[in-house]
Symmetry: C2
């Protein structure tokens, strides 16, 4: 095995055992057995290394096990060398790095990473305000998109139920565009015990469901009304109507791309919320629906923009107008 800080031979044999060994991480069973996966390309490796530094526990195994990069990649991106301080970093030829990777063009760098899963209890103990739950989402690209949307919307964690795609699948990792390393992930959860835990921790359970009877835009208007009026009449009326409040702690369920949420999953939710379709589209895909839902919650959970602040924005209008 390699160590840092000492000059080493450049790995040049793409058929070497160590290279084949890493290439095997493309397979789910090998990933599960080793509890490791591969981050490919500068963006993913950068985020992995940043997470490794942020997470650093003395004696802990950390996020990144080892980095393999071409000389030209390291010359092009010297900040990665600094970020990798304390992590084994091996120089390898383009051919070797490509042989390790699933990506057609890993751009000269890959990192072997430890699984990032956290226990559900740790996530819930932190008092989350916004959670994204994927229920048997199967397509790695969709799963990655939902995770990236959850990160963008500032969700506290992403949870995958048993039967979902492996989030460490190379295509899923790519689709997260680095977000995989940004927020806690919980995997392999049995659906019903999970919903019990979520309820116990005071989260409202909202199912994103194209056939849902609660309109997301109505919830957004109600939430805006409460926030703008500061808890007056609107607040009372909404309380009486027992509608969900987007500004409160929420867990969103997103279903399988082909079949949506199952009857059992819908039953376990407290409300079935539809993103309205204003045109003729039959539905939204799970990635875009999740984005709209999570952003609606994110907006509602933050302070109302003060209108007094608008004055300093006059300058923001571009000159061309």
């Amino acid at each position: 095995m390699s160590t840092t800080g000492r000059p080493q031979a450049v790995m040049s044999n793409p058929r070497a055992d160590r290279v084949k060994d890493i290439a095997k991480l493309a397979g789910r069973s090998v990933r599960l057995k080793r509890r490791q996966f591969l981050a490919e390309g500068p963006q993913a490796v950068r985020e992995a290394l940043a997470a490794h530094r942020a997470d650093a526990v003395p004696g802990g195994s950390g996020v990144v096990v080892e980095v393999f990069a071409t000389q030209s990649c390291l010359e092009r991106l010297p900040e990665l060398v600094d970020l990798a301080a304390g992590v084994p970093l091996r120089c390898a030829t383009e051919e070797v790095v490509s042989a390790m990777a699933d990506t057609v063009s890993p751009q000269g760098i890959v990192a072997v990473c430890n699984f990032l899963d956290r226990p559900l209890n740790d996530v819930l103990a932190a008092g989350p305000k916004l959670l994204a739950i994927m229920c048997r989402v199967q397509d790695p690209g969709n799963a990655g998109t939902v995770l990236r949307a959850a990160d963008s919307a500032g969700a506290d964690a992403v949870i995958l139920t048993e039967g979902s795609v492996d989030i460490y699948n190379p295509k899923a990792v790519r689709s997260t565009a680095g977000s995989l390393f940004h927020l806690p992930i919980v995997t392999g959860q049995d659906f019903l015990p999970l919903t019990d835990e979520l309820r116990k921790h005071g989260l409202a359970l909202l199912a994103a469901d194209g056939y849902g009877n609660v309109d997301l835009d109505r919830l957004q208007d109600q939430s805006a009304g409460r926030r703008l009026k500061g808890g007056g009449d609107v607040d009372v009326m909404a309380a009486e109507s027992k509608m969900p409040r987007l500004e409160e702690a929420t867990a969103w369920f997103f279903g399988n791309e082909a079949k949506g949420l199952s009857a059992a999953e819908l039953d376990a939710a407290q409300w079935r919320v539809a993103v309205p379709i204003y045109g003729e589209a039959e539905s939204l895909n799970v990635g875009t629906a999740a984005t709209v839902c999570l952003y609606a919650s994110a907006r509602a959970q933050r302070d109302w923009y003060s209108f007094e602040e608008t004055e300093d924005l006059e300058t923001q209008r571009l000159e061309t107008e």
Copy 2:
């Protein structure tokens, strides 16, 4: 050529000239020359036929030129036979339909369709309230996703500038999930003359830009404030601040996935609007950003939900709560 209403031999030779001829529609140059493309699979063909019926002009060439389907597909989906009344419909073997299609599994049905482009003037003459403009979007999947989002949000049309991906690319057609046939499309527009026309027709030009200095959530709050307060103080303040109003007629510009909008494109917009990133994600992809922006406009352009309506919603809370 085939005619309808008369029993015909089942096409069974995947190497026949007619089959090869249709398979050539996978190539852009052939599509452009013929001004035709292929819709593949039951969903796309259904939407194509529905558009053909809605569009029917006596003596016009219509949307669908010819449909090819397997016997088992027509037995499984008899409504497609009714929808296809008046359109040449040929029976073919699974092998022949697959040889025509780009899709690995076209599920036994394809339709040769005429290009759907409309002239820009027709679209603008209809007084659009919401337009999605793709500026050099290159990935067919992204282009399809933006188009589907525009349809979902009830946009009046989608416009692609010169240098964008061909929206009739098989992968783009698939990604639209049928939305390609739902709303007017304008292609190949030169950017600057286009923006001139949009301004002349009173549309506000908003560039979706991750580095934009106007926060989309702020615009949403301002719009909600105006609508809730019915044009009171908030309205005056927002007018003074000269911020864009989401409830007014708007054209959104969405840029190239890798490079975003160019400096010239940003300059031509009146405002640069950012979807806020509440987490650590670097950015949203163009498909999800477009969804969030278009839905924000769609919401703002519709009536505020009356809070008096909430009472009848009490029953909507599910029993399990």
